[in-house]
């Protein structure tokens, strides 16, 4: 930080967006797979 202003920080931005997108994607895919399996076993 310089003079109260944050300099740079794109690596943190990519980390936050990457983590969020990956979490939604992985959870969504896992959920659909779980539901298909549950349907098969019903």
């Amino acid at each position: 930080m310089t003079g109260g202003v944050v300099i740079g920080g794109w690596e943190f931005i990519w980390a936050a967006y990457g983590l969020t997108t990956a979490a939604f994607l992985i959870y969504g895919v896992t959920l659909i797979a779980k539901l298909r399996e549950a349907k098969r076993n019903d």
């Binding site: 202003v5 944050v6 920080g9 943190f12 936050a16 969020t20 997108t21 959870y27 349907k39």
Partner: protein, 237 residues
């Protein structure tokens, strides 16, 4: 004893997921490449476009879980238990994401990954409370006991939600006050609102699908043949 829950096969949750994904792509593109940087936090402020929508919708997921728990205790209907399981799991995922995004935001702005600040601490308490309730649901085999115990535990845990919301007003918090259209400059409104609706639609889709998984599990448990006396001890073998 529960009635056998019915499981919907409508495509509505997939529509919510598709709409949420499309809005999330648009909102994130706008937030990353089109919206101007903030005056003091500069580029790092772009994390707000994923962090704040996650926070708003996490609170909605907790409220939804609380509503399902109350509805179950009043109606004793298994559909509310299945919905509660959906709300609990999605609420836990969002709370985990919220804490991670917050830590990523905190490092370049506060200089630390974590601080025992009232907002962060109360959020972490609710995350661990939901994790505990999910663990409880996995350990208890009797579906009626499981539903009652987890509904009561959810109501107790949800008491923390107003504390999370008000923590930045009640105490001298390192965390900034709530982000609303009144506290955020107008060029930031579009990506923030777009991602807020995107995460809302994703959350609805996730909860609907997860509730179906929970309903199928209940159906399996309720359809299982009753154990005959002596069978467990091997007398009939």
């Amino acid at each position: 004893m529960f009635e056998m829950p019915k499981v919907s096969t409508s495509k509505t949750p997939y529509v919510f997921l598709a709409l949420g994904a499309a809005l999330f792509l648009f909102g994130s593109y706008w937030g990353l490449f089109v919206a101007p940087p903030a005056a003091d936090m500069r580029e790092v402020q772009r994390i707000m476009y994923v962090h704040v929508p996650t926070a708003w919708n996490w609170m909605l997921a907790v409220l939804f879980s609380f509503g399902c728990a109350v509805a179950f205790l009043f109606n004793n209907d298994s559909k509310w238990d299945a919905r509660l399981e959906g709300g609990l799991e999605v609420g836990t995922l969002f709370a985990f994401l919220l804490c991670c995004q917050g830590a990523i935001w905190a490092k370049p702005t506060w200089g630390v990954w974590w601080d025992w600040d009232p907002r962060l601490t109360s959020t972490a308490v609710l995350l661990f409370a939901f994790l505990g309730i999910l663990a409880l649901r996995n350990f208890v085999e009797d579906p009626v006991k499981r539903a009652i115990w987890s509904a009561v535990a959810t109501i107790i845990a949800a008491v923390d939600l107003p504390i999370v919301y008000m923590s930045v007003k009640w105490w001298n918090s390192l965390h900034q006050e709530q982000s609303t259209p009144q506290t955020v400059a107008s060029p930031f409104h579009l990506p923030l609102r777009t991602n807020a609706f995107a995460v809302l639609f994703l959350m609805i889709g996730f909860i609907m699908l997860r509730s179906r998984v929970a309903a199928y599990r209940l159906r399996r448990e309720l359809a299982a043949p009753p154990v005959r006396i002596g069978e467990e001890a091997g007398e009939l073998v």
